[in-house]
């Protein structure tokens, strides 16, 4: 962990930012809400909520099809959102940006389409031990379909991927590496750039799961040089039900479509159908256009604050919270990587996480208990679950204090 400041230094006006998020003004069980479940989903700023209202109230129309004004207007907004996403992750062009239902939808798309094209019996896919179930199960399904094998990069006691073990997994059967940039249960920030470079040295493409990364720091897919990058809208202050699949154009171009339907086709005949160009080839059916536009608005909102300020605030908040948590007797933090973001998984000796979570809930503190969709991580530590407090840039030092107060109360009741 970095050095812990005695006094928090506030780099951005948190009070002002918090006022942008209506949910953060609400009360739960008669107490002001402390929202620490950002790993599960993030809250939405007023601009996103207003945007969705505006779209449904005065602009609603199906995209890419109509000859009329509303449809053209909505199509324009949708394609503008694609450009906003492109800019957000610094993709080369908008052909590389596919809208999906979420990170899970994006991974399933690649697992199917890449798998159809490149994976055959006996081939191997590399994932890591700290993956979210969404970055394990689609690959297991692919492996079952193709009789391929899943190889797993283990992590050490601090929750860092063991790089030597990673390198040993490569052989001439390795077809793809799929790893997370940031662990949703350990908070670890993986050295994905170096890992991508190593994979590329072996001519193996890499998919990065950015679901827990994009809300914390800026991402540059060209700098990372990843072949695929996925994230969810709802975890980056946008609407739910929308996500992004970035793929290098040459890569996406070569893949067969995932789902068939309207809009993804060029010419449909019963003898043979030809497919639309990128990115539409991967966008079958009526897309979640309001979600995509709302996501664009969320990304523009983040841009207006800037990742320099966000990262700086989160770093001091992370250090402050870590320090405070360590003051609680018998509290063990799972995930102590040198590079980590403000996700804290922990247990307090003698306290069941569910009991603790139930007590905190009644104190207005929202966090998550359980396995966090990472059962292999729990198995690694031989535990059945943890309490997880996951923070976003709108969380304050006061939120951290309320968390500590809640935990102390839980200890007094349960011990």
């Amino acid at each position: 962990m970095p050095m812990i400041p005695d006094k928090p230094t506030v780099s951005i006006d948190i009070d002002l930012i918090r006022r942008n998020f209506p949910v953060l003004q609400t009360q739960v069980h008669g107490k002001p809400l402390v929202y620490l479940d950002n790993g599960a989903t993030t809250q939405k700023p007023r601009v996103v909520i207003d945007k969705l209202n505006e779209l449904y109230e005065s602009k609603n129309s199906s995209i890419h099809r109509g000859v009329h004004f509303l449809s053209e207007q909505m199509t324009g907004e949708y394609e503008h959102a694609r450009e906003t996403v492109r800019n957000f992750i610094n993709a080369r062009n908008t052909n590389e940006i596919v809208f999906t239902s979420g990170a899970t939808g994006s991974i399933n798309t690649v697992a199917f389409s890449f798998g159809e094209k490149y994976v055959k019996e006996g081939d191997e896919i590399i994932v890591s031990e700290m993956e979210h179930h969404s970055n394990i199960v689609p690959w297991q399904m692919l492996c079952a379909r193709k009789k391929a094998k899943l190889k797993v990069i283990p992590f050490d006691e601090n929750g860092e991927l063991i790089q030597n073990e990673y390198k040993l997994l490569f052989n001439d059967k390795t077809r793809l590496v799929a790893i997370t940039q940031v662990s949703n249960s350990l908070g670890t920030v993986n050295p994905v750039k170096e890992m991508i470079r190593f994979a590329h040295d072996h001519h193996v493409p890499v998919l990065i799961d950015g679901a827990q990364a994009v809300q914390h720091s800026s991402v540059d897919v060209q700098d990372l040089d990843c072949d695929f990058y996925v994230f969810s809208g709802h975890k980056v202050f946008g609407p739910t039900g929308i996500g992004v699949l970035y793929g290098k154009e040459i890569m996406l171009d070569a893949l067969p479509p995932y789902q068939g339907g309207g809009d993804m086709v060029d010419c449909v005949k019963f003898e043979k159908t030809t497919y639309n160009e990128l990115p539409f080839k991967f966008e079958a059916g009526t897309m979640n256009y309001t979600g995509a536009i709302g996501l664009g608005t969320a990304l523009e909102y983040i841009g207006s604050i800037g990742f320099d300020a966000i990262t700086q605030h989160e770093k001091s908040l992370c250090a402050y919270t870590h320090n405070k948590l360590k003051e609680i007797e018998g509290l063990d933090i799972y995930g102590n990587a040198k590079e980590k973001i403000s996700i804290f998984s922990f247990l307090i000796q003698g306290l069941h996480p569910l009991d603790t979570g139930m007590i905190l809930d009644k104190m207005g503190i929202a966090l998550r208990t359980g396995t966090h969709c990472t059962q292999p991580v729990m198995d690694h530590f031989q535990i059945t679950g943890t309490i997880r407090a996951s923070m976003a840039f709108y969380n304050s030092f006061g939120d951290a204090d309320r968390l500590i107060e809640g935990l102390k109360k839980a200890v007094s009741m349960l011990k």
Binding site: H352, L354, D355, M358, I359, K362, G370, T371, M413, L414
Partner: protein, 141 residues
């Protein structure tokens, strides 16, 4: 005492509590006071896995009545388990099969018996009813 009378009694008891921490403290107390399950029943065979917390349940049948013992690894859940046992214990199997457990809602613990909470309690109630149905079917003649 009839199943509904016990439920009404519990509702009465909980009405005295002013805040959630009082209710939870009482549940924690009930959890601690719940008679222990025989260790030989604390095995996977009797485990109701709720993903977030575990519940072990054993059922016995004597003279038309059901006898339950149970345990949980989470103490507040165990307190709710204790309430369920208090309501269902020594009741006729036929009563339990059709029991409407309205007290859970009335004392504000409804979300704990929602299928999505994944604490083992929903499955526990189901199991209690299934055991009762099984014993009832076996012994009705």
């Amino acid at each position: 005492m009839a199943l509904t009378e016990i439920q009404d009694q519990i509702i009465e008891e909980f009405s005295a509590f002013e805040d959630w921490m009082d209710r939870y403290n009482y549940l924690i107390e009930l959890g601690h006071d719940l008679p222990a399950i025989d260790p030989k029943f604390k095995t996977d065979e009797y485990l109701i896995n709720g993903c977030q917390s575990k519940v072990w349940l054993h059922a016995d049948f004597e003279n038309g009545k059901m006898y339950f013992t149970a345990d949980s690894d989470a103490i507040i859940v165990k307190g709710i388990v204790a309430l369920l046992i208090r309501v269902m214990n020594k009741q006729e199997a036929s009563e339990i099969m059709n029991a409407d457990l309205y007290f859970i809602d009335k004392i504000g613990l409804k979300e704990n018996l929602s299928p999505t909470r994944s604490n083992g309690l929903v499955s526990m109630v189901k199991k209690m009813k299934m055991y009762s149905l099984a014993y009832y079917a076996k012994h009705k003649d």
